[in-house]
């Protein structure tokens, strides 16, 4: 068979039944092999959309997402999505076509050094040198993407390799050893936990990626340890769990940040001390000893020196750390903090208050739901005010913070979970960044619901200009937005616009009960900001809170 047929065969062998991509000259043999094959392909309308759809697919399903692009511009368009997958540790295999080996290095038509370009934005990347390497390389790519700390892997395949003949043989992969946990480390970790009077769990995205949600929940049940989560860790701990304070960090809840600052043991699980989480690192949880658990040994001690660190599968380690703790006074203190700093949804006036609307949406969503977000104020409101049952139910570009993520990620999620209610929450700026994917929704007849929160501003940037740049609103006014409902209708997506708080309930119901895709365009006041906020360079205890409306 041809190399191209072997590519499809490897995908089928890995249970890949949907691929996102965009064809072109250097990947035509692979698209030819796809034609009529058992692997289903979803045509996106931009390679960045295809890359994010693969990310959304992977995040919503726990499987590896796959995307295709041609050489040159196709591959360069994929790069942002790969960078996004790298920073959020998402398993993705990207397959790019490359010009033939004989012309590589001659500046041939649509030739770009994709391998070179990928070095900084993938977990690993390959350029297949000969057809004999093709099948083993693809197997390796799938293994690498999903094992250890997951991530994106790129396989660049020259055109002549795609058309060369080979005899297909599935390679035997050496199974990598799981990192061994030393009993002494477990003992040291248990001693730290047992000695703590004010322990705090800091839960990151690694818990979901490792499939360790159940183990984490059992650990919390056994210890009663209070907890907070990062943006990517949301969903790992169910809302209502005693001592769970939600998100910490720059836009974290007040109780969450204050409790972390006060703890005497910070137990970090699948998280990495991101600067959006820690604020000023030197004063983050200043009195706490640190117990750090992560699959990626390179994260241990990278930013904060742990007292005990264990590089291992969380699923194996967490059960070994369970123990009853004698921390009732601390738990009571945490509950008091939580009660003191409850969110207030009583917003005066008739305008739509986005946090209250999102809270309502959360209450109305069926059990099997996915919310994908774009980037900005609306993203932080989703993180603060919605509740998630599992990490796979909340897709947000956390590490890279990529505008344009939400819509294509929702497409991928809906492909992965056809029966789920998938809602893409976007801002008027972000939505326009991959708006072409409305066609993909139409073509695939996907029932994706779009909640477009429109403040006619690049809201998050505007907020910073207001607070830290003397209200000099440089290039953040979007009052010349298109008519979004008319735009959606050009893609045969129905929708409506609402302006008043009293319309919210009924409009959300209409959106959620509509059969196919739907766009709910929500006009909000451009003066709303995200609170609290830890200013850049400040400690997490120094949160700014809502200020008077200026004007």
């Amino acid at each position: 068979m041809r190399g191209a047929d072997a590519v499809i065969k490897v995908l089928a062998a890995h249970g890949v039944n949907t691929v996102f991509g965009y064809p072109g000259g250097a990947i035509m043999p692979i698209y030819d092999a796809l034609y009529g094959s058992e692997v289903e392909h979803t045509l996106c309308r931009h390679e960045q959309g295809a890359g994010f759809a693969a990310v959304g697919y992977a995040r919503a399903s726990g499987k590896t997402g796959v995307c295709f692009a041609t050489s040159g511009p196709g591959a360069t368009n994929l790069i942002t999505a790969l960078a996004d997958a790298l920073l959020d540790s998402v398993p993705v295999v990207a397959i790019t076509g490359q010009v033939s080996t004989s012309v590589i290095g001659t500046d041939a038509f649509q030739e770009i050094d994709v391998l070179g370009m990928s070095l900084s934005c993938t977990k690993h990347s390959f350029m297949v040198q000969s057809v004999d390497e093709l099948v083993p390389t693809l197997y390796r790519a799938f293994d690498l993407a999903a094992s250890g700390r997951p991530g994106p892997v790129l396989v660049d395949i020259p055109k002549d390799v795609q058309i060369a003949q080979l005899e297909y043989r599935a390679p035997l992969l050496a199974v990598a050893d799981e990192p061994k946990v030393q009993d002494a480390d477990i003992d040291a970790a248990r001693a730290l936990i047992a000695a703590a009077k004010k322990p705090m769990l800091y839960v990151g995205g690694g818990v979901g990626m490792a499939g360790a949600v159940e183990q984490l929940r059992r650990f919390i049940k056994a210890t009663n340890m209070p907890s907070v989560a990062t943006l990517k860790g949301l969903g790992a701990i169910p809302h209502g769990t005693p001592g769970y304070l939600g998100m910490l960090g720059m836009h974290g809840g007040k109780a969450a940040n204050l409790a972390v600052q006060e703890c005497d043991l910070l137990m970090v699980v699948g998280a990495r001390f991101d600067d959006r989480v820690t604020g000023r690192l030197a004063s983050f949880a200043p009195n706490a000893k640190v117990l750090h658990l992560d699959i990626d040994a390179a994260e241990l001690g990278k930013l904060r020196q742990p007292d005990v660190a264990i590089a291992a599968e969380l699923r194996a380690v967490l059960p070994r750390l369970e123990m009853p703790l004698d921390i009732a006074p601390w738990c009571a203190e945490v509950e008091t903090l939580a009660a003191e700093h409850r969110w207030d949804y009583n917003h005066p006036g008739s305008l739509i208050y986005a946090p209250a609307m999102l809270r309502r949406l959360a209450n109305k969503l069926p059990e099997d739901s996915v919310v994908s977000c774009d980037v900005g104020q609306h993203q932080m409101w989703v993180a603060q005010h919605m509740h998630f049952r599992r990490p796979e139910d909340h897709l947000s570009s956390a590490g890279l913070g990529t505008m344009g993520f939400g819509l294509p990620a929702a497409i991928g999620a809906q492909m992965a979970r056809p029966d789920a209610t998938v809602v893409a929450v976007s801002g008027d700026g972000s939505f326009m960044m991959n708006v072409q994917e409305l066609t993909t929704i139409k073509r695939r007849k996907l029932p994706v619901k779009i909640l477009l929160i429109d403040n006619q501003r690049l809201g998050m940037v505007k907020q910073w200009q207001q607070l830290f740049f003397e209200e000099r609103y440089s290039e953040t006014n979007l009052s010349d937005n298109p008519d979004f409902v008319a735009l959606a209708s050009a893609f045969e997506i129905p929708g409506r616009t609402i302006f008043a708080a009293e319309e919210v309930e009924e409009a959300l119901t209409e959106m959620l009960t509509s059969k196919g895709p739907y766009l709910l365009h929500v006009a909000i006041d451009d003066a709303f900001n995200v609170w609290p906020l830890v200013p850049p360079g400040a400690s997490n205890s120094d949160m700014m809170e809502e200020m008077e409306r200026s004007t």
Partner: protein
Amino acid sequence: MNHNLEVTMDQRPEVVERVLRVVRHRGFTLTNMNMRLVDESVYLSLSVSSERGIELLSNQLTKLVDVTGCHVMQPAMPQSASA
């Protein structure tokens, strides 16, 4: 601080580039380098300098898929001789 590293890697055309990218990006200056290809393995001796701790670099290099070994060499002359 100056450090010496010995890195062994599987031979791939881009493998040295991979290592050098990490050295630069993680905040280290390359001051000396020697590379040998023996059979299918690449042996790389690096001298680097940085304000940052060498573990940051060695951990990130160890993590690279093609890297099979990464050793930080002890300085030949310890700063303070102990009894």
